[in-house]
Amino acid sequence: MEVLETIFNVSLIAAMLRTTTPILLVALGGTFTTKAGIFNIGLEGQMLLGAFFAVLGSLWTQSAWGGVAIGVLAAMCVALTFSFFVVTLRANEVVVGLALNILAGGLTITLTKAIFGTRGSIVSGDIVGLPRLHIPVIEDLGSLGKALGSFTPLIYLAFILVFVVWVIIYRTKLGLYIRVAGEKPAAAEALGIPTGLMQHIASLLCGVLAGLAGAHLSLGYITMFAENMSSGRGFMAVAVLIFSAGDPVKVLFGCLLFGFADALSLRLQTFGLSSYLVLTVPYLVTLGALFLLTYRQRPKIFRETAESLQLIRREKA
């Protein structure tokens, strides 16, 4: 019991919210493309490039928010390239997404070496990280409040965005058009709603959020850039999107699960378990959830029961 208490305590919850943030941001971005009917395997690359340029921007502008802005812009560029190929040229989305992920990986390493002369990572005291907020009202709520009242702004933003994205998707014209473009393009075309444009916009919105996710990685808790630092979170987000069908609320719960797995794995490392094994936990949880949920959503071979038969027969008669 003591062990469990040491693992599951307030700081675990705080850590969970922290680790949930990047995957939640990028997955929320993916809700737009998912709803627009695009399978966006390129989230990983957008996030990685966002992280890299956020660091670069932070160094250039000497401001964390300047860094965030430049990171977001970079991710939007990738997103626009993605939608240009996928929507305008109608290229295969998996192929383009993979290519852009590879491009992002290569580009960040190449530029790191060119600009900083180092391989693999950018570490510098000059990188301005995001400030921690101190929200007195929450901080006053005891130990839990203390843990929850002093995050970086992007963490709060991520959770607020769940609601914002939900409103955009389900309550605004833009969201409606994006959904129609994804669900039944012919309906939109017949009314003169430009589906292509909607898909481009969805992809750009996705880029914004993926860029924020990247900025959180490199300017949030650690202020550095490391080669492939997104480490598959973009792909995990895709997994979440697959079984949530892009619904922001389901996305939130999916992401919390992975945030929890991530935080737990970090915690388990302090117990002397092999760090390599422990690091597999989030991936295994994602895979497990993906398999389990597709198993549950499997097409079922329906067999009539005596009651259902009777019901249908009566209906017919």
Binding site: F85, L89, V95, T110, K113, Y283, F291, T294, Y295
Partner: protein, 361 residues
């Protein structure tokens, strides 16, 4: 529909043969990639001509370097065939990287753990690699076949697990005392024969070529190859025509994974003779890209893999002699894939929008 306003031009009686057209497309893509690469090189403050010539020298400068290019190409050919197998069956296996790691470790394990006669030892080790690769894709393959679970995501995620797991085996379980992050060396009885004195180029190259040619013949000449090709071209037609689609999906992905594992086995037994953490970075991914670039053709993979192998070999010299990092070639590869993805599509759009392969770009 509404965007398509240009009237279709009257087609002349002569049409470029398909293969010529696709090679031409590939070359145009290459041209654009060279320009894109040059811009990047200028951006990072290097002379593109110098970088490209160094790249070429590194790849083809002398017989040793040519052998080096072939050495790099070997695992890419095998991994490329692995990816092709999935692609031609209408599936994606983006997990070749992970299967390669698992196969590499399994081969090394058999190589250092057991004592067997020369030759037989190697065969057993390679068989272990094949089995490991197949096992590594088993769960994603099963769920894809049975429940339609998206195999793109599941195979990508399993890469991360494979890499971490082999690192765990290497560093926490089988680490050679005093050494780097590597296992004990493989017994010489399990080595793949080396072809030349001056290079580590080995018999694996022939394994790769044989696989590619063999797979090509399988696709074009055999009944099962016809089944598979048809699934890749039009899954609904295959189902309607009585092909055992679900079973074949499982078998195809398992074969794809098995060949991916073999790629890793060949790399450990032919080149490193032990398992090292991060022993083959990116070969699996290169294989996938090579297969995409070759449009799923196993014969095409031989060439695209040789090309990528040469790029890799050249990039090593490039990194030593210039300030450009070797990842420039990754950018280069990505641009080529992007261009090709757009191009083949343009061609297809002109022909017909029907019956496209799901993966075909």
């Amino acid at each position: 529909m509404s965007a398509d306003t240009t009237p279709t031009p009257v087609r002349s009686s002569w049409r470029m043969p398909n293969w010529l057209e696709s090679i031409l497309g590939q070359l145009i893509a290459l041209g654009i990639a060279i320009i894109g690469g040059a811009i990047l090189i200028i951006l990072v403050g290097e002379d593109p001509i110098l970088v490209f010539t160094t790249l070429l020298r590194g790849a083809f400068g002398n017989s040793e370097r040519i052998a080096g290019s072939l050495l790099q190409a070997t695992p890419i050919i095998i991994a490329g065939v692995a990816a092709c197998i999935a692609l031609r069956g209408g599936l994606f296996n983006i997990g070749v990287e992970g299967q390669l790691y698992m196969g590499g470790f399994a081969a090394a394990f058999v190589g250092f753990q057991f004592a067997l006669p020369t030759g037989l030892h190697m065969l057993v080790a390679l068989a272990a690699a094949v089995v490991a690769g197949g096992l590594w894709i088993l769960i994603p393959a099963f769920f894809r076949a049975r429940f339609g679970t998206n195999e793109v995501v599941s195979t990508i995620l399993s890469n991360y697990v494979a890499i971490l797991l082999t690192s765990y085996f290497t560093i926490d379980v089988f680490k050679r005392p005093g050494g780097w992050s590597e296992t004990d060396p493989v017994a010489t009885t399990a080595y793949l024969p080396q072809l030349f004195e001056f290079s580590r180029l080995n018999f694996g190259l022939f394994i790769g070529l044989a696989l590619a040619i063999g797979f090509h013949l399988f696709l074009t000449r055999t009944s099962r190859g016809y089944d598979m090709n048809t699934m890749g071209a039009n899954m609904k037609f295959a189902e309607y025509g009585g092909i055992a689609v679900k079973r074949n999906i499982l078998v195809i992905l398992l074969c794809s994974g098995a060949v991916g594992g073999l790629a890793g086995g060949v790399e450990t037994l032919g080149v490193h003779h032990r398992f090292m953490e991060g022993f083959a970075p990116g070969f699996g991914f290169d294989g996938v890209i090579a297969a995409l670039l070759a449009n799923g053709s196993p014969i095409g993979v031989i060439f695209t893999a040789l090309f990528f192998g040469a790029l890799r070999a050249g990039s090593l010299l490039m990194e030593v002699e210039t300030n450009a990092s070797r990842e420039v070639i990754t950018v280069f590869q990505a641009i080529i894939i992007l261009c090709v993805s757009a191009q083949i599509l343009l061609r297809r759009r002109r022909d017909s929008s029907q019956g496209e392969r799901r993966w075909k770009f």
